[in-house]
């Protein structure tokens, strides 16, 4: 009985997970295109401080859950070693989504400096849960 339950979860995880990931990547690429004229850099100090009218802290936060299929691949890689490619895509999605939300938060800023990314974990140490990742991107928006 267990094996059928497991296979159903695996198929559901793969089906919905792949669909959601594809949709998400399409949305990320489109929004990145929209924001590509907004300079987002890691410099601690603005390039022309004398021209700044206003500045503020902006941030974007995202929580994504992994699916059963991704977890299945990860648990197999745990035995043999290697890169967990199923987690690489979800981490990439989470970081890019967090940066995009931060940019959306910045409104008509002329640039965002001192970009930082933090990862926290809600589902740490819970073996039975499917698991999720949490990414927070923040920086200083400069208005000229």
């Amino acid at each position: 009985m267990d094996i059928y339950f497991f296979l159903i979860l695996l198929v559901l995880g793969y089906g919905f997970g792949t669909y959601a990931e594809k949709k998400h990547f399409t949305s990320i690429r489109k929004r990145e295109e929209n924001f590509k004229e907004l300079p987002t850099i890691m410099l601690k100090k603005p390039l022309h401080p004398e021209e700044i009218k206003e500045y503020k802290l902006v941030g974007g936060n995202v929580v994504l859950s992994i699916d059963y299929f991704k977890k299945f691949i990860a648990s197999l890689v745990n035995i043999f070693g290697g890169s967990i490619s199923s987690y690489e895509t979800i981490l990439d999605r989470a970081r890019r989504e967090a940066i995009l939300r931060m940019k959306e938060d910045a409104g008509d800023a002329s640039e965002i400096i001192n970009l930082r990314i933090e990862t926290s974990s809600i589902s740490k140490n819970s073996n039975r849960s499917v698991g999720s990742i949490e990414v927070y991107a923040y920086g200083t928006a400069i208005y000229r």
Binding site: F6, F25, E33, K36, P39, S75, I79, S85, R128
Partner: protein
């Protein structure tokens, strides 16, 4: 100085291998690894089981205190049947038969010459001959040391479960169990044969030996594909084949049931 507006390169941060291809590759590797480990550990288990002495087994018995709802320890009536059969079986154990508080009909052999019979089984039994065959069948497990082998394999399976962890371990266990079931079904048929031999020697007939299985047979053989026991109709036909080949007597009147005192 100009800000470069190129978009992030998608291809560098994650591999382009299709997730299904990766899953397939990993699953096959795991199955191969598991099969190899299972066979190697199987050899070790068989070696250990073949060389273990009854004294060592006695120690093992005290180490593994089986926690069960016993309604009766060492039932005297069942012991008299075991004594009759023991004269023919020549097992290196002092057989003790216990009754478990459980409605499903079942019986099994445990280390140190302990046989556990469920109350559900006792209730289904119609005469002493049927009971004698059940006990004889468990004697067969002792003779072939199946009780130790099963324990060893269960230990290995639970180790795999721990290695892989959680749900995936359970699924891997299910697959390995398929191989285990085939071995186990063979062991059950061998135990049936031994049970018939012992019964024939102790009682001078095998009257009603197959009756119990015939009553339990619901005609559904498919569900036994993955089970530890073969289907009842398979068992009955194999037993009848042996009875015929060895010319065992099936006409001597069956002995009525004694006082089990549940």
């Amino acid at each position: 100085m100009k800000y470069n507006t190129t978009l992030p390169d998608d291809s560098v941060n994650f591999s382009s291998e299709h997730p299904l291809a990766l899953a397939f590759k990993l699953t096959i590797s795991l199955l191969l690894f598991a099969a190899l480990a299972y066979f190697l550990l199987g050899f070790i288990i068989n070696y250990a089981v073949d060389t273990i002495t009854p004294t060592q087994e006695k120690k093992l018995e005290s180490m593994l205190s089986i926690d069960m709802n016993l309604t009766q320890k060492d039932n005297p009536y069942l012991s008299t049947i075991a004594d009759k059969l023991s004269k023919c079986a020549h097992l290196p154990y002092d057989i003790k038969i216990h009754i478990i508080d459980e409605n499903q009909a079942n019986a099994f052999a445990a280390p140190g010459g302990n046989i556990y019979v469920t109350q559900g089984m006792i209730k289904q039994v119609k005469n002493e001959n049927e009971l004698a065959f059940i006990i004889g069948h468990e004697f067969g497990h002792f003779k072939n040391k199946d009780h130790l082998r099963t324990m060893g394999y269960k230990l290995v399976l639970s180790m795999f479960g721990m290695l892989i962890g959680n749900d995936f371990g359970m699924a891997a266990n299910n697959i390995l169990h398929l191989g285990d079931a085939k071995y186990s079904q063979k062991a059950e048929l061998e135990a049936d044969e031994f049970g018939l031999d012992v019964m024939n020697c102790a009682y001078g007939s095998v009257t009603d030996a197959t009756k119990m299985f015939e009553r339990m047979d619901d005609g559904d053989e498919w569900k036994y594909f993955m089970a530890t026991h073969p289907g009842f109709s398979t068992r009955v036909s194999k037993m009848k084949e042996k009875i015929l080949n060895d010319g065992m007597d099936t006409h001597k009147k069956a002995i009525p049931l004694g006082n089990i005192a549940l």
